[in-house]
């Protein structure tokens, strides 16, 4: 039975390698998920000028809404730091919503194929942004679970796997939007 310690050592090393690699995989997945959000945000910035271009001929009376969208896009593009950017993104989402609400009032605009497909594209991109954020947060949770639970927490603390932060929305975005019904 001399080989029992040897087997134990091999099993332990195998476990260690597997657990360490799992942590690395999780950490890289979080990084990748974060960049996925950026990819989708970029796509939204690119789509907005197209939409504005198509819509502006029809909406001569709604210049204000269009200007707001363009301004919000510019603000989001030039925002510095995650907190400021999250806030600017939130404002951009709101202005886009009000633009689509205005589109509802123009039957010829709604019938326009370009507008319809741009609208679907923007809805899809909005969804992709939020699903990318959701996936980011899910990845953070899996990773944090792993580095906090026994036995992987020993490896995590020895090799300095730090906890990752969740993506959080601005407090003002959490407020229930007020409906203005008259």
């Amino acid at each position: 039975m001399a080989y029992i310690p040897l087997v134990l050592v091999v099993v332990l090393i195998g476990w260690f390698v597997a657990a360490y690699n799992k942590l690395v995989r999780f950490r890289n997945q979080i990084k990748n998920a974060w960049h996925q959000i950026d990819v989708q945000l970029k796509r939204r910035y690119d789509l907005i000028p197209n939409l504005v271009e198509v819509v502006k001929d029809y909406m001569s009376y709604e210049q204000e809404t269009l200007t707001k969208v363009i301004e919000a896009r510019g603000a989001a593009l030039s925002a510095k730091g995650p907190a400021a950017q999250a806030k600017a993104e939130g404002i951009l989402t709101e202005t886009l919503k009000s633009l689509f609400a205005v589109v509802e009032n123009y039957p010829e605009l709604k019938a326009n194929r370009n507008v319809a497909s741009l609208q679907e594209e923007l809805t899809g991109t909005e969804n992709k942004i939020s699903f990318a954020r959701q996936f980011y947060n899910d990845s953070v949770m899996t990773y944090n679970n792993a580095i906090q639970s026994i036995p992987t927490n020993f490896i995590a603390s020895f090799f300095n796997f730090a906890q990752e932060a969740y993506f959080e929305i601005e407090p003002e975005s959490r407020a229930v939007p007020k409906a203005n019904l008259r």
Partner: protein, 375 residues
């Protein structure tokens, strides 16, 4: 309770049996608010409006056991545990049969070894030849073009939510409402939906269906299915070989050249005979219950991807009433679809031999994940 009909708990909304005073789930006294505990109180506002109560569902509901609120992560974990357990059982049946047959011929270990080899051969064949043949059978075409932009977007969204590479998207020209996913690995997966499904589901419902399919992709259920099917096939093959060989080939060989220990052989022979008769059936039943567990799991995972279990619930309700037939449907591919195209309307869809759980029960579980505890 004075109402007489099933009283709903004012606190958690669970439906209790008539005549009970305390909620079976949360121990809240039911009598305190006599009269309010009717069905209306059990269903939060908007519940029926969303799922669109169909007649068939309303009829099926009393037979369902009410279930407490489900958390999709918990539901998914439970299903993973269940299917792993069933898989171990299936393996046990297979190896028991191999050992017993080996024993009947004098050497249990060789039997076990040979059954391993048989499994490896069958598994390799199935792995390298299967899965790519599904699409042409059902006449699926790649979803290119402007009219499928929404479908492609929804698939991309769900691929992001699931964290898998975006699969190829196909459309099957068919009136019936159905969808399936194929591919052994997430990198080579494809998702197909029928035109009937696209025409009658809204975006949220389509999202639910696609999320269900991508859940299958992410957890490699095609591979799971191939493994299970190969095990069942191997069990059937072993049993057949034994039963055919047992009655005319066995005697001469075992008493002659091999010459195992006579008595032990006889006991093994009876055991092998018994197993050869029972094992194929047991294996088939296990395979089907694995398949049903995977469906429940994909539903729960889909709820995790969309965070909107009611979208999928509503889609399933529409599919039940709208019909799920697909051209080229056959027994070989039925397990791939979101709702079994062959037996949607079967009253005994919950029978041991069906690939999918009854749709009503799937809807009920999804609604429980959405916060509606009562069936």
């Amino acid at each position: 309770m004075t109402g007489g009909s099933a009283p709903a708990c004012p606190k958690c909304g669970a439906v209790n049996r008539p005549g009970t005073d305390i909620c079976y789930l949360c121990r809240e006294p039911l009598g305190g608010r006599a009269g309010t505990g009717d069905a209306a109180a059990a269903t939060p506002p908007g519940a029926n409006a969303f799922v669109g109560d169909s007649g068939a569902l309303a009829e099926a509901r009393p037979t369902l056991r009410p279930i407490p609120m489900l958390l999709f992560t918990e539901a998914a974990r439970h299903n993973v545990r269940m299917s792993a357990m069933l898989f171990v059982l299936l393996f046990l049946v297979f190896f028991l049969l191999g050992t017993a047959i080996g024993g009947a011929y004098g050497d249990p270990r060789t039997g076990l070894g040979l059954s391993f080899v048989l499994y490896a051969i069958l598994g390799a064949t199935a792995y390298f030849s299967g899965s790519s043949i599904v699409l042409p059978i059902h006449g699926a075409k790649e979803a290119a073009g402007e009219e499928h932009r929404q479908l492609r977007n929804v698939v991309e969204e769900m691929a992001i939510a699931a964290g898998v590479p975006p699969p190829k998207v196909y459309v099957i020209p068919a009136e019936g409402m159905n969808a399936f996913a194929a591919g052994r690995r997430p990198e080579e997966a494809c998702v197909a939906v029928t035109t009937g499904l696209l025409a009658r589901l809204n975006r949220e419902e389509l999202q639910g269906v696609v999320a269900h399919e991508l859940a299958h992709v992410k957890s490699r259920d095609t591979l799971y299915n191939v493994c299970a099917a190969v095990l069942v096939g191997a069990v059937a093959l072993l049993s057949d070989m034994f039963l055919r060989g047992a009655f005319w080939g066995r005697r001469g060989r075992s008493s002659g050249s091999r010459g195992g220990g006579g008595r032990g052989n006889a006991a093994f022979f009876v055991l092998a005979l018994l197993l050869a008769v029972l094992a194929p059936m047991a294996a088939k039943i296990l395979q089907m219950s694995i398949s049903r567990q995977r469906e429940y799991h994909a539903d729960a995972a889909a709820a995790g991807f969309t965070r909107n279990p009611l979208g999928l619930a509503s889609a399933l309700a529409k599919i039940t009433t709208g019909g799920a037939q697909v051209p080229g449907e056959n027994r070989g591919t039925q397990h791939l679809f979101i709702v079994n195209p062959l037996r949607v309307f079967d009253a005994d869809a919950s029978a041991l031999m069906s690939t999918h759980p009854p749709t009503e029960e799937r809807i009920q579980r999804l609604r429980a994940m959405g916060g509606f505890s009562a069936g």
